[in-house]
Amino acid sequence: MPDPGFFVLHPAVLPPLEAGGYTLEGEIEDMPAGAVESLAAQLTVSAPRFTMPPDQILSTFPPANSSGAFQATLPQIVLKRRTLPWERQPDVGDPHLPWLALVVIAEGEGTLSAEAKVEDCITPGLNPPLPHPEDRDTATSIYLEVTQTVVDGVFPAKEDARLLAHVREVDVGDSELMGADDDGFVAVVIANRLPQPDFDDQGRPLPRKYLACLINIEAQHTKLPPPPPDFHFSFDAKAIVQDPGLQATQFLDQPDKLVMGGPAPTSGAAAAVGLSAPRSPDTTTAAVRTGAAWSKNVPAVSAAAVSATAVNASEVVRDAMAANWRIPIIALEPTYRFPVLTHWSFTVSGDPTFEELMKGLDVGLIGTLVGDLPPKTPEQIEREKQRTPPPAPARLAPELAETGHLGLVHQTRRGDKVEAWFRGPASPHPTVREQPDQNGRLPLAHASDQLLLVVPDGREDVSLAAAFEIGRLLALSQPAVVNALLRWRQEQFGAARAAQLAAEALAAVAKALGAKFPARDAGLGALVGRQLVLAAASRPEKVLAPSRPLVDPGRPLTYATGDLDTLVANGLGFSLDAVRKAAEQVGVLAALADTAVASAHDREPVLTGPGFAGLQAELDRTVTALAADVLKQPPAPAPTPAPAPKPAPVPAVEAAARPRRRARKDALDRLLDSLEKPS
């Protein structure tokens, strides 16, 4: 693949196998069991023949249905498959001759058929006939019917045809063509004709429509013209390859026959009669109208015929008929049919080409008038005087000053009509722009000011005044702009005032925050807010509140006073002194390990150890207090742990709750049980 930005041209890319039917023969020899029957497989290499699949067409130039100055460019069509133009061999033994040709025919030079069977899309009675007529990609197609004259005049010579198809290889991502292509190779078929516009008698170009047809020249390449023996280095764009006037005459003479069918004129006599016999306008019109009733070109042709006189009837009707290429050719010479794979039409406007236009441009600074000539010499003036009549300018040249100012009629405020100078924004000279004075001030005009200047010749220069007014009116014409201006003034100007007033206060705030305020800002509110947030973020403890500590201290424990060791020992019910004594001998850890503490177990005995009595007394007291509280009785005297008092009759609620409590004994129940047992 070429580099991006490059492309490579190849003369042709030949397919390994041309389109057509093939037989694949397979034979196996030397098998031990004897000969094996040979295999004959049928193989068809298919390719377009009578119609071009749309996905194979990448682009055409000129674009279809376009109009423009195409007279210096060769029409072309770009095909996707690079081997496409060489997939069939019109001339066996010449693989480089493409079977496709792009012909460009003007109005009146040929007939494009309606949809027809493919057998009819080729010249009848061809010898040799089209090989393999069964190889077809479509049942119906269209054909182009042209006369021998047109073939000789317009079609490429056989030697030329091979030069008109080539392969272009480009970087896939590089070209506008390549959107649909995958490998970067495209086949290009070029036409051999520069489409020319028509010209009127004064040499002015008239648009002319052309039809570009991609045709199949299989079996008919011999009909292509030989290279012309002579040539010119110029061509007459108005020359007519085939004069359709003859056809038009015949059409006028025998419209019924043409439209309704029937034998075509067989001898030259009819045409000769038609040409020579003078006809009255009435008969012409009538004839065309009769025929036009069934014609495809009813409005155009009949309208043209009505307006036509006998002298130019054929020409006018020809023009009208040339609106398309479906007018049947009635010719006295051989005609040929070529299958058309694809076709498109375009119009050559006859406008000058880009190059001609650009070279013909009148170049100058603004204020240059066409016809600005150097001052005339006295001899020239004398000569002009002698000439009769003296040349008069078609239109008075405008009064134009050297500075680019134009003298225009001006109506003053008082209603006087005077001449004033005006110059638009375009000046032929650089202008000086007003610069600020030493205080940085610039003059600003207001609606009540006058921007009129009085120039030395006493007239007013209204240029700037007009500009001011245009600017004002343009602003006023757009409510959005007016709105924006007013909003700007209200919000921003108001904010500026507020900023001035708040400067003092802000200075104090700034000092407190240690922040700096810029001199000016778009909005005071936004400014203050932003600065405040910034400053507050940097020193939050001064603005909002101290930060919350990461860890909260716990609540003070009121009961945990005194020595911690004693507290622990008392709580766990062991003797601190005994542990200390043991610790002196075996160490603290071992002493603690040896010390037994009161502990609750699920299994018996529930409580053991020396602290049992104290814990039990405490428990008894607590239980008694709880029970008394529940039973609304005064607590029993503490010192003597009495047996649990007889339960008094309990309220219904208690009674209902009791069985549930009994249903499953929890650790407290078991503890209570164990306490009751020894007592």
């Binding site: 009148d362 610039l442 500009a467 947030v533």
Partner: protein, 338 residues
Amino acid sequence: MPFEAYLSSEVVLQAKVASVFDVTLPTSDVDDDGEHVVPFELRQWFARLRLLEGVPFAYLVADGALLPLESIRFFYIDRRWTDALVQGALSVGTVSSDDRTQLEQLYPVVRNEVDEAEHKVRAVGGEGAKSTSGTITGFLMRSKAVSGWPGLHVRAYDRELPEGDNAIIPESDTRRLRLLRLERLAPAVLLALFDGIPQIVHIEEPRRGIQFGVRLDATEDLRTFEPWIPPRDRNDPQKVINAKVPVPCRPGSPGVLDMKHLNEALIARPDTHLSGDGVVDAAEYALEMLRFPYRQVFGDVSQPVGQLDQVFKPTVKIEAEAGEGAPSLIERFKGGLA
């Protein structure tokens, strides 16, 4: 699910600060950024007004004779005129003398900010350096070339290009002047404004892909044409051969080329190097018939440019259509596949 149990006031404030600055303090000049007095919307509108958007055409060209058919007129922009436009727009809604005084105070700032915004109206990347001169120039072109070839390429350079008029200049060349405005005011009227004073202006045919064709010279009767092509060297297609090869035509058939005799003429020229195998193949033919976008150069004609025909002769280099900055599309020739 674990989460941060404590959200300190600092964290909250920092998040707040970040959000404030992310949202209201963009770094680019696309919105009110606190740096400009004039709101963005108005700045933009004033800048467009300065570039004459919306100004009636009769005020640009007060008389048809100033811009005749098929003409191009270069000019300087009168900055006082465009300033007056903006002043007129500013005067809208100035009700009290208070407004007026404030506006007068503010006007130098407004003008500077609109000057700055002017350069950003047509912000196309890679278009050369910004001018410092403050001068705006431009041209008005009234031609069928404007209506018939939409998408013209217009480039201006601040000095004569030593590379020559047909050289390929990158889009981002520093000598290139910025285009401030390029717009069709009417189907056939093109207005271009440059940021600076150009010495050379290129107007180039739109690049619509690869085309084949000839150059046509009209003769006196205006309907007979003499086609010719610039020959190209088969071995070095980029070499410019300053010659015209007349293209023979088939007699009686307008525009139909006589390729056989053209090829003979091409082979006969030693500078095309086509005589190697004695025939012209399809690729060689296509190479000779390639037609490139035409570039018209406007400049100081007192500069020595050599023969005029050479100035306008295109090289085989063309630039790809694929947008700005795309690599130049240089055509190369290679023999066919075996």
